[in-house]
C-alpha cells in the first residue's frame, strides 16, 4: 500500500492510496507505456472508476483538481502518477479517502489495464480533511 503525496494547497493529509496489487500493475503498465496518469471518471457504464492513461494523453484543465501524486518507484528514479478528478465531482467526494484497488474485470473506456483482464476501482472511506475544500 502506498499513499499519495499531499498537493492541494493548505491540506496536510493525503487523499489517495494504492494497494500493493495496484502498484504492481502500475509498474507493469509503466514499463509498457511510460509515465502514467489517473482521471476519475463519472457517469454511466464504466464510470465511477479511475481511468489510467499515458501521462498527458488526457488534457486536464483548471476545471480539474489534482488530488495527489502516487510514486510507484521502488527507491530508484521517481515514477510519479498524478491522480485527477473534475472539480465539480470533487465537491461531492472531498470527504472521502480513495484507495485505488484492482479487480478481475473486462475493463473499459481507454484505460490501459483492460487488456490485462483486470480493472482499477476505488474503495472509499470517510476522512477528515485538515482544512475543508473551499
Amino acid at each position: 500500500m502506498i499513499e499519495a503525496s499531499v498537493v492541494i494547497p493548505g491540506e496536510t493529509l493525503p487523499r489517495v492510496a494504492a494497494t500493493a496489487e495496484t502498484v504492481d500493475l502500475l509498474r507493469t503498465l509503466w514499463s509498457a507505456n511510460g509515465p502514467l496518469m489517473f482521471h476519475q471518471s463519472g457517469g454511466c457504464c464504466d464510470g465511477s472508476s479511475p481511468m489510467c492513461y499515458p501521462d498527458g494523453d488526457f488534457i486536464t484543465s483548471d476545471n480539474d483538481i489534482r488530488l495527489g501524486v502516487l510514486d510507484i518507484s521502488d527507491g530508484g528514479e521517481p515514477q510519479p502518477i498524478d491522480f485527477w478528478m473534475s472539480r465539480e465531482q470533487f465537491e461531492y467526494w472531498s470527504h472521502t479517502f480513495l484507495t485505488v484497488d484492482v479487480v478481475k474485470g473486462r475493463g473499459s473506456g481507454f484505460s490501459l489495464e483492460a487488456p490485462e483482464g483486470v480493472r482499477f476501482m476505488i474503495r472509499s472511506r470517510l476522512m477528515e480533511t485538515a482544512t475543508p475544500f473551499e
Binding site: 457504464c45 464504466d46 488526457f58 473534475s86 465539480e88 479487480v103 474485470g105 475493463g107 473499459s108 473506456g109
Partner: protein, 507 residues
C-alpha cells in the same frame, strides 16, 4: 413461464461459434495480429466464445472498406436506403428469440427484456429512420430574380461509433440507424464486455447491406477504440459511455476538427408528488412500479431512476409499499421469462456496485433492503448477481450523486414543489428524470423546471423512436432517437446558382 435453453444445448435458439472474427467489407476478417480475447457470460461467469482483439491495423482495414463503400452508399437515394433499413427491421422481427437469447447470454439481462423491449425497439428504430429520411426535404430560396439557393442534406462520409454494453444490440442500432439513413458508412467498435450479440445480428443482416457499409471491429478500448476515435479518416465520432472517455473523445474530435456527439450518463431523479397517493387505484399501482424501475436492466441504464424523491406527506406509506413491491422482483436464471432481475454485466461492475453499497453505509445512509451479492447456485453460482438495494439518506451523499450502475436506489424526501425541484437539479448530470403527479399543471411545470434532456411524466423507461433523447449538463451533447439525429450525421450543401448571363462588372 418459459425457460429458454442455454446457447449450444439441445433446443437452444442460438449456438455461438467458438470464435468470432471482425466484420469488414461484408465478410469475416481475421485480426491482423491474430489475437483474440474471451467473452464471458455474466449468467454463469464462464467464457463462451473468443472474439477478435482488434488493433489499429484492423481499424485501418475497416476504414479502408468503409471508404471504398462510401461514395456509392452516399449517392444511393433515400428511397433505396430506407428500403434497406426496413428489410433489416424485418429480419430482426423474424429472429426475435434467437437474438434475445444471444443478448441475454452476452449481457446477463433477463430475457423478458430483449423480447419485449430491446429488440422490438431495435427493429422499430430502423423503421423510424427509414421513414424520417424519406420525409426529409431539402429547401431552396429565390434570393433575387436571377439567383437561387438550393440546400441539400449530404452524408458526412465515414463515421466512427463506439457503444456501451448495457443494451448491446439496441445501443448499436441507435447509432447505426440514423447514420445509415443519412448515407454514411460506418466503423463500429462494440464494448469489450459484450462483443458477440451484435455479430450474431450482423450475420443475419450482413447480405442486406452493401459490403463495407457497416464494419465491426471488436477489441479493447485502448487498442481499438482509441485508434478509431482519433483517426483522421473519420468525419465524426459518436460515443456513449462515461465522462472521462467522453472528454477524450471530444479531445480527439477537436484535434481532427470533426463533430462529436456523446452520451455520458446520469443520476436521474424520480419525483413522487403527494397527490399520487390520493387514491389506491391503477395509477398508484403504476407509480409504485415506477419506483421499482430502478431495477430494470439491473440498474445498468444511463437513465436509471436511481434517486427516488418522495414528497413528505406520503413518504412512509409510499416507500413502505415500494420496498414490498421491490421484494417481488424475481431474481433468477436470466433465460427464464419469469425472471425480472438478472446478472450484472461483468465482475468489475459487480465489485463497483458492492463498493458503493459499502460507502453508502459508511456515509450513514440507511440500508432498507438488499445490499448483498447473491449466489443463485448450480450453473449460475459464479454469475454476477446482486440484490436490488434501497438506501435512505440525503442528496449530498455519494450514493445520491454518483452513477452506481446497479439495482440500487437512494431515497429521500422533499417538502414542497421548490424543494423537490432543487433536490432533483442538485446533480452534475441531466439525462433523465421522472415526475409523477395527478395534477397536470404540477407535472408540466416540474417537467420544464427539471434540468434534464428527458423527463418522463407519469411513466418511466420508455424509449420510443421519435422521442428525442440526450443530456443536459455533464450528461453529454447531442440527441438520438428522433429525426434530429439525422442532422448529427449530415452536412448541408448549398448550391448557389446564378441564372444571369451578364458579368458582375467587377473585373
Amino acid at each position: 413461464m418459459t425457460v429458454y435453453a442455454a446457447p449450444g444445448t439441445p433446443d437452444a435458439k442460438v449456438t455461438f461459434k467458438p470464435r468470432y472474427e471482425h466484420w469488414i467489407g461484408g465478410e469475416w476478417v481475421k485480426p491482423v495480429k491474430g489475437q483474440y480475447f474471451e467473452d464471458i457470460s455474466p449468467v454463469t461467469g464462464k467464457p463462451f466464445a473468443e472474439v477478435g482483439r482488434g488493433t489499429v491495423e484492423d481499424i485501418d482495414a475497416a476504414l479502408d472498406a468503409a471508404h471504398r463503400a462510401a461514395p456509392a452508399w452516399g449517392k444511393t437515394s433515400s428511397t433505396e436506403r430506407a428500403a434497406v433499413l426496413n428489410k433489416i427491421a424485418d429480419v430482426i422481427d423474424a429472429n426475435l428469440e434467437l437474438l434475445a437469447v444471444a443478448e441475454t447470454w452476452d449481457n446477463g439481462k433477463p430475457i423478458r427484456e430483449p423480447l419485449n423491449a430491446d429488440l422490438p425497439l431495435a427493429s422499430d428504430h430502423f423503421r423510424y429512420f427509414a421513414s424520417a429520411i424519406r420525409a426529409q426535404d431539402g429547401d431552396h430560396a429565390e434570393l433575387d430574380g436571377d439567383t437561387v439557393a438550393y440546400q441539400f442534406h449530404e452524408p458526412l462520409g465515414v463515421v466512427g461509433q463506439i457503444i456501451p454494453w448495457n443494451f448491446p444490440i439496441l445501443m448499436a442500432v441507435w447509432k447505426l440507424a440514423p447514420a445509415l439513413a443519412a448515407g454514411n458508412t460506418i466503423v463500429l467498435k462494440p464494448a469489450e464486455q459484450t462483443p458477440v450479440s451484435i455479430l450474431v445480428l450482423i450475420e443475419l443482416i450482413g447480405d442486406i447491406l452493401p459490403p463495407g457499409v457497416v464494419n465491426i471491429v471488436n477489441g479493447f478500448g485502448v487498442e481499438a477504440g482509441k485508434p478509431l476515435a482519433s483517426s483522421p479518416r473519420i468525419r465524426k465520432i459518436a460515443f456513449t459511455g462515461e465522462t472521462s472517455t467522453g472528454r477524450l473523445i471530444l479531445q480527439y474530435a477537436s484535434a481532427n476538427l470533426i463533430p462529436s456527439t456523446v452520451e455520458l450518463g446520469g443520476k436521474s431523479p424520480n419525483l413522487f408528488f403527494s397527490d399520487v397517493a390520493d387514491r389506491d387505484d391503477a395509477f398508484y399501482d403504476k407509480a409504485q412500479e415506477g419506483f421499482v424501475l430502478f431495477a430494470f436492466n439491473q440498474g445498468e441504464v444511463c437513465t436509471c431512476p436511481s434517486r427516488a424523491l418522495i414528497q413528505k406527506p406520503i413518504y412512509d406509506s409510499f416507500l413502505g409499499a415500494g420496498i414490498e413491491r421491490t421484494k417481488l422482483a424475481v431474481q433468477g436464471n436470466p433465460l427464464d421469462t419469469d425472471t425480472r432481475v438478472g446478472a450484472q454485466a461483468s465482475n468489475d461492475q459487480l465489485e463497483k456496485i458492492l463498493s458503493y453499497i459499502d460507502i453508502g453505509k459508511q456515509e450513514g445512509a440507511r440500508l432498507l433492503l438488499g445490499g448483498e451479492r447473491v449466489d443463485l447456485g448450480g450453473d449460475l453460482t459464479d454469475g454476477y448477481y446482486v440484490q436490488p438495494t434501497i438506501f435512505e439518506g440525503d442528496n449530498k451523499m455519494r450514493v445520491f450523486q454518483e452513477e452506481i450502475f446497479g439495482p440500487v436506489v437512494a431515497v429521500t424526501s422533499f417538502d414542497d414543489y421548490d424543494d423537490g425541484i432543487a433536490i432533483a437539479n442538485d446533480t452534475l448530470y441531466g439525462l433523465g428524470a421522472g415526475v409523477w403527479s395527478r395534477n397536470g399543471n404540477v407535472a408540466y411545470r416540474a417537467g420544464r423546471d427539471i434540468q434534464a434532456g428527458r423527463v418522463w411524466v407519469n411513466n418511466y423507461h420508455a424509449y420510443p423512436a421519435g422521442a428525442a433523447f440526450g443530456g443536459y449538463k455533464s450528461s453529454g451533447i447531442g440527441r438520438e432517437n428522433n429525426k434530429l439525429a439525422l442532422e448529427h450525421y449530415q452536412q448541408t450543401k448549398n448550391l448557389l446558382v446564378s441564372y444571369s448571363e451578364d458579368k458582375l462588372g467587377f473585373f
